[in-house]
């Protein structure tokens, strides 16, 4: 089970610059750690995050082993119309997670 915690204002006025915050559960195993017996623990990270609004990409990020566990992101967008944000995380070992949030613009 993985969880995402997404913070998007439910409502905004046309032209408002709004902050979007996301927090996703993921160990972000760096690939640089070893077990006590000396075996490398294989890398297992989220590598990319994309936010789309009504299908159009509005923000994209590349993650690295240096991204902290349970990745946190905050970014901005201008509210122009009501609609749906789609969030997508993609990573190693076929990791894929999606979530969405709607906003009403008055």
């Amino acid at each position: 089970m993985t969880a995402a915690l997404i913070n998007v204002p439910k409502k905004a006025r046309n032209g408002d610059i709004i902050e979007i915050k996301t927090l996703t559960s993921h160990v972000m195993e760096t690939g640089y750690r070893h077990t006590p017996r000396g075996e490398v623990i294989p890398r297992d990270i989220i590598t990319s995050f994309t936010c789309r609004f009504e299908g159009d990409e509005i923000f994209h990020a590349d993650f690295f082993p240096a991204t902290a566990a349970n990745p946190f992101l905050s970014f901005f967008t201008t509210a122009t119309k009501s609609g749906k944000f789609d969030f997508e995380w993609i990573g190693d070992n076929g990791f894929s997670q999606t979530a969405s949030a709607s906003i009403t613009v008055e």
Partner: protein, 160 residues
């Protein structure tokens, strides 16, 4: 499994179906692997800039000068930009010189962002210099640096 937004004004929680299970951390010991070097960081920066001139300015990097634990260091990068269709920040790239590899994050923006600002949390293996570079829509590159001192945890699970 998906939950509908809870009816609070600002917040909703989504529980999304994913393929990875979150278990307890594996029993692991941290090692100091080969580190990135200032040269590796320079190479990584060239990959982004294509060798173009990088000017100091426009970029602001907020990162605590002294952090309590290098595993999760909050970081905010903002760029002075009107964020209009003709003049905006295309991307922000953050680098370090002492982690095993030189990238801390790449962030790609649109003019609709309204504000050229991103925040995330990164891992820093040691006290070091961090560099943030912004690529603007006119093709110019701007940068700033910050020094971070990372406190080593005194009481860890590793046997001292």
């Amino acid at each position: 499994m998906r939950r509908q937004p809870v009816p609070t004004r600002r917040r909703f929680l989504a529980l999304a179906g994913g393929t990875a299970a979150i278990g307890a951390l594996p029993v692991a010991i941290s090692v100091r692997p080969a580190r990135a070097t200032p040269e590796m960081m320079a190479t990584a920066i060239r990959t982004v800039t294509g060798g173009a001139n990088v000017k100091p300015g426009k970029v602001k990097l907020d990162i605590p000068p002294l952090v309590e634990n290098g595993n999760s260091v909050p970081m905010t990068v903002s760029v002075a930009s009107p964020m209009t269709a003709n003049d905006y920040v295309k991307s922000i790239h953050v680098f370090n010189e002492k982690n095993p590899q030189p990238n801390l994050g790449n962030f790609y923006l649109k003019p609709s962002a309204g504000r050229a600002q991103v925040s995330t949390r990164v891992r820093l293996a040691d006290s070091q210099k961090i560099t943030a570079i912004a690529k603007l829509s006119d093709g110019s590159f701007w940068s700033t640096t910050a020094d971070v001192v990372v406190t080593l945890a005194a009481c860890t699970e590793d046997v001292i």
